[in-house]
């Protein structure tokens, strides 16, 4: 039996869920890349509100800082660097058959995932009352993540730093100009 939630909580959960969904729909239908990016930022903000409602406060903050604050700003930088703001010359959709096919694929995928979510899965994994709240009481929002991150997942955490190093090196190598004469040699 899932714990009973107060009306305030349910209302805000549905509110932010609807905002996230509407922003995502607006995001895929905008022609201009800048407008699309800003709608995606809106989706990420409402998702971060949902994370806070689901007792993951630290992840909610990270969502705003890393996703909306860093990654999307890089996207906007690139859009404006390449001067892609003109909807007429870019952001055209594919042909009619591709759109039709994508719609069919989308409906099938949505039906499948909804079936999985609606079926036994959601009922089998019942939420024990106050589990996350208990964790939060004991360790705090940061400690809840930090304890497993630096105990069980320490190796993965260290490997992540190698991944970031490789990504930085790759971005520098790919972004370097090749055609002109090398400046420093």
């Amino acid at each position: 039996m899932e714990p009973h939630y107060p009306l305030f909580y349910t209302f805000h959960f549905y509110l932010f869920g609807v905002i996230a969904l509407a922003s995502a729909l607006a995001f895929v239908t905008r022609r201009s890349p800048v407008a699309a990016a800003l709608w995606l930022v809106n989706t990420m903000f409402s998702l971060s509100a949902l994370y806070v409602l689901l007792d993951a406060q630290f992840i909610g903050v990270m969502q705003v800082l890393v996703y909306a604050g860093a990654i999307m700003v890089v996207f906007l930088f690139v859009i404006m660097l390449l001067n892609l703001g003109h909807p007429a010359e870019i952001a055209d959709r594919r042909g009619r058959w591709a759109v039709l096919g994508a719609t069919v694929v989308g409906i099938i995928l949505l039906a499948e995932v909804m079936f999985i979510g609606r079926g036994d899965l959601a009922k089998k994994y019942e939420v024990p009352r106050g589990f996350a709240a208990e964790q939060l009481q004991k360790f705090g929002a940061v400690g809840t993540i930090a304890r497993p991150l630096f105990n069980e997942y320490l190796l993965a955490f260290e490997l992540t730093s190698v991944l970031l190093l490789v990504a930085i090196a790759g971005a520098v190598v790919l972004g370097r100009r090749r055609d002109g004469a090398p400046r420093a040699r």
Binding site: V28, A102, P128, A171, V172, G175
Partner: protein, 97 residues
């Protein structure tokens, strides 16, 4: 709230897939992939409520990988733009054979 979270995540993921299939702008396709990653993160968070903090740790990893992916992918897009003067995938078909 678990069932609602799963349904919302499924809808967001599907929107991302449809976006990837229907758009031609490489940057918008890239942002659709980010939307799909966000949908998966929502599932992780929803389940972490019942199963402890491991789901939240995975979300941190997914965010890191997304950041690395964005850096490398956007560098590739800039390199392609420098080469072909476009990011329209219709015109970048050299590997189609």
């Amino acid at each position: 709230m678990l069932a609602e979270s799963l349904a919302l995540s499924a809808a967001l993921f599907t929107i991302g897939v449809v976006g990837v299939l229907t758009r031609r702008n490489a940057i918008i396709i890239f942002m659709c992939v980010e939307l799909m990653l966000n949908a998966v993160n929502l599932v992780f968070i929803a389940f972490s409520r019942a199963y402890g903090a491991a789901g939240q740790v995975f979300v941190v990893f997914v965010m890191t990988v997304a950041a690395a992916e964005a850096a490398v992918g956007l560098a590739i897009i800039i390199a392609i733009y420098r080469h072909r003067q476009t990011v329209d995938l219709q015109n970048i078909n050299i590997m189609k054979g």
